[in-house]
Subunit: 180 residues, 2 copies
């Protein structure tokens, strides 16, 4: 069980990353307060080859010192676009054929582990503010809401952890395809 | 798609959490540099009802201001134990019948999405230092290594994101059981 060296990990260079076929998944960040969380989502987006990050509202965007501190360079490779309002981001995604979900606990949200997505679907997930979550007006524009089942006493997960779990679950379908 | 109120989320109180049956999963933290990462793992452990967190080496432990900042109170509910060395933690887990895996990229690590665990298995996962990963000497004591497949240019995920993804994947089996 020897640890792999950096060379053995066979990661992509910035150029290889930019030119590679992405997984048709987009993270939409709405009014995220912490730039560290934004950086962490960039790092996750790099790992799972997300097509893009759509940054909305007052969410910090690169170049930004705190984003760099947690993105560790992923902000140089991952595609991103900025929109003043999440509704514009959603409109843009719809035009490209994306289904848009909000990561939120609503009356009829879909538990993440029951989600049956097929790998050809283009999916975007909106992640909202650390305290107030996704705006109700933004939720209304979505095709549905996805919820990570939580069994403890806290109301939510850290947003970069939630993004990691959701995009892992969605990207995994593509890994399985590649295996087969 | 109205957002649920805090009451509607029906989360547990600290007392209910302490008395509830946990999922037989343990997070082992070895020489984690950032207390914020430790706090975030506490929050995740709360969400997925982990049995315990085993804190090893120079990893920060509660009470700690930075842990509280990201654990948001989960450090009051989630069980934890401290060990000066990870090998002692592993010994303790073995005695209780746990299988112990390291989250690490090795020559023969198991990709997370191919992991077939049955819900009755007791599983512990060792998460290592942010830069150097799990110590090679600790890896040698484990039953195996688990790897989150990563497709981009970075070598690893943030440790609290990696913990979230791994424990989501393991806890999910139990959610499915409860559904059935």
């Amino acid at each position: 069980m020897r640890k792999l060296t950096v060379e053995e990990l066979k990661r992509k260079s910035v150029e290889e990353f930019r030119e590679s076929n992405k997984i048709p998944l987009v993270a939409v960040l709405e009014n995220i307060r912490s730039a560290y969380n934004v950086g962490s989502v960039f790092r996750t987006a790099d790992a799972f080859l997300l097509e893009s990050i759509y940054i909305c509202g007052y969410t910090a965007r690169p170049p930004h010192k705190e984003i760099s501190k947690t993105a560790l360079g992923a902000e140089e490779s991952v595609n991103w676009k900025y929109f003043t309002e999440a509704c514009q981001a959603i409109e843009d995604l719809r035009r490209q054929g994306f289904k848009v979900f909000a990561a939120e606990q609503t009356l009829n949200s879909l538990p993440l582990h029951t989600l049956e997505n097929n790998a050809s679907e283009k999916i975007a997930v909106v992640l909202g503010n650390e305290v107030t979550g996704v705006e109700q007006s933004t939720i209304q524009l979505c095709d549905g809401t996805i919820e990570i089942p939580q069994l403890g006493m806290k109301h939510s997960l850290n947003i970069s952890v939630a993004a990691g779990i959701i995009f892992w679950e969605l990207a995994k379908q593509h890994l399985k395809e590649d295996d087969g």
